[in-house]
């Protein structure tokens, strides 16, 4: 049976997930139990809540200081009627600030399995993710592992591999900090195109190297959650 998954998008200034899942302009309804999340599929296996749904005008800027962001994230955690979920994924903006603290503080009582950290291969990126690792350690969030994204590009014309954003930095960082390295995901125009259109890349390109990479990571995480 398919797992039932919820995504909570707490990137309040730049909420991208609605577009990526092709659910841009629905309305958020209230029920007795709270806000009803938006379902991205007929079977209601994938639910999403994002500030993107609460804006009248999609180009409207959310120019909020920390306390207001903290308050909304608290509401998202408390007042969304997720129903029975196997997994709740929380997507955060970059940083170690209000949003991240709000998520940890509000979810702590519901038990956080852990955090997945995403980096690109170069040192400039891993340099910031080191600090993110410290954030997790300081806030008591277990690190499920690191992912190296945008890891190499295979030219669709001649198959030459170019390491546009360098390579290997994510794996090195995992070693350096004693975290598990979950895997690398390559740069793939087919993936970015799918995200633009909100189409399901995994369904459309199951033979691709990118699919394998993402699937392997997902399987590792599912194992963690079974053991955890």
């Amino acid at each position: 049976a398919a797992a039932s998954v919820g995504i909570l998008d707490v990137d309040l200034c730049g909420p991208s997930i609605p577009r990526m899942l092709r659910v841009c302009r629905p309305e958020v309804h209230q029920c007795e139990a709270g806000w009803v999340p938006v379902y991205t599929d007929q079977q209601q296996n994938l639910a999403l809540m994002s500030i993107g749904f609460l804006l009248e005008d999609p180009d409207e800027a959310v120019v909020w200081r920390g306390p207001k962001k903290t308050a909304l994230i608290g509401q998202f955690v408390r007042d969304v009627a997720w129903g029975e979920l196997d997994i709740l994924l929380v997507d955060t903006p970059p940083g170690t600030s209000d949003e991240h603290l709000a998520v940890v503080e509000n979810l702590r009582k519901h038990k956080i399995d852990g955090a997945v950290l995403v980096t690109t291969p170069q040192a400039v990126s891993t340099g910031d993710v080191r600090r993110e690792i410290t954030f997790c350690k300081k806030t008591g969030v277990q690190i499920l592992g690191l992912i190296e994204n945008m890891s190499g590009f295979v030219c669709p014309h001649c198959s030459e591999c170019s390491n546009i954003f360098s390579k290997g930095g994510g794996e090195e960082l995992a070693k350096l900090t004693g975290s598990e390295f979950l895997g690398s995901v390559p740069l793939d125009p087919l993936l970015t195109h799918s995200l633009e259109e909100g189409s399901n890349f995994l369904q459309a390109f199951p033979e691709s190297a990118t699919f394998s990479a993402i699937n392997n990571i997902a399987q590792k995480l599912l194992l963690h959650m079974k053991d955890g």
Partner: protein
């Protein structure tokens, strides 16, 4: 920090916030009625102090993006290097990304220390005419995390603008984290008397990025910050072997070009993906000096010229 008093409760919104005295966190705080009455919202004296301090800074440019990872800091660093390539131009780069301060590494001055003197904090000099300030210099270890809420970040930004001894500058470039939040509001607020020339907004070609750029542009309109223009980064990749170009981040809705046409904003330029850009950033070298004949370097140079024109035409209109 003056914004969050020492007797403030947890989650204090800050005395100069719109929410001062009004949030649930304010219940029971000894300052609640003072804040709610608006008395604490008198203009921050630091705004005038910063105006005086930055009177010796001719041009101030803020680099913004809606999304993370689009190349803001890379652009800010390259802009700083390009402007400073003329030895008679004094340039400084201020990094207000408090949680993810990349600028020291990109500028090749990671691990340097900041010193205090009678005239304030001295920035770190990359060249005689190119200075950098970042919270990165104040952190003891590359693992140190700055786990600060908004008010504390705002206080740091105020200090950077008021207490750094920048000296005489032709250009102060302010590199920001992605978004439209505390850091951005604080930069605009604290520089409100000192006058910012304008903002350069960085994007990648896809709609997922552009949809956040439109919000960033709205932010600029809201706070009366002129937009110098938009830079489209990661604009195509030419395979070094077969020379075919791939749109790794596809401009499915026309890219920055169409968005700029629709909004009546200048497209300052399009910078292609080039592995040497990231490599030089990692090594703390100037991409423009190392690979000056590359398509990306030529694109950057064109963008820098547009910035220069904007700053010099707007200065003719300055009060």
């Amino acid at each position: 920090m003056a914004d969050v008093p020492s007797d403030a409760p947890q989650h204090c919104p800050g005395t100069s916030s719109e929410q001062a005295g009004k949030t649930s966190a304010c219940q029971g705080c000894p300052n609640q009625s003072l804040c709610a009455s608006g008395a604490a919202k008198a203009p921050d004296p630091a705004i005038e102090e910063i105006k005086v301090k930055l009177a010796t800074v001719k041009h101030k440019i803020v680099v913004l993006s809606g999304k993370g990872g689009v190349g803001k800091s890379t652009f800010s660093a390259n802009l700083a290097h390009a402007l400073a390539s003329d030895a008679s131009t004094e340039v400084a780069l201020l990094d207000v990304d408090i949680c993810g301060p990349s600028v020291p590494k990109i500028m090749g001055v990671e691990g340097e220390q900041v010193h205090q003197s009678g005239s304030g904090w001295s920035p770190v000099y990359v060249e005689d005419n190119l200075a950098v300030m970042s919270i990165g210099f104040l952190l003891g270890s590359p693992d140190d995390a700055v786990i600060w809420r908004g008010p504390k970040k705002n206080g740091m930004i105020k200090q950077f603008l008021r207490d750094v001894d920048w000296g005489e500058l032709d250009y102060l470039i302010v590199d920001t984290p992605p978004g439209t939040s505390d850091e951005h509001l604080s930069v605009v607020q604290y520089l409100s008397a000192a006058r910012i020339d304008g903002a350069v907004i960085i994007t990648t070609p896809q709609e997922v990025s552009l949809q956040d750029v439109r919000k960033e542009i709205r932010f600029c309109q809201k706070v009366n910050l002129p937009v110098i223009g938009v830079v489209e980064n990661m604009s195509g990749f030419e395979c070094p072997k077969c020379k075919n170009t791939s749109q790794i981040f596809p401009p499915t809705t026309g890219g920055a070009e169409r968005m700029c046409e629709e909004l009546g904003l200048p497209l300052l330029g399009k910078v292609p993906l080039d592995p040497r850009i990231g490599k030089n950033c990692d090594e703390g070298k100037s991409f423009l000096s190392e690979v000056p004949d590359s398509a990306a370097a030529l694109a950057y140079q064109g963008i820098v010229k547009s910035n220069y024109s904007f700053s010099h035409s707007s200065s003719q209109c300055s009060v």
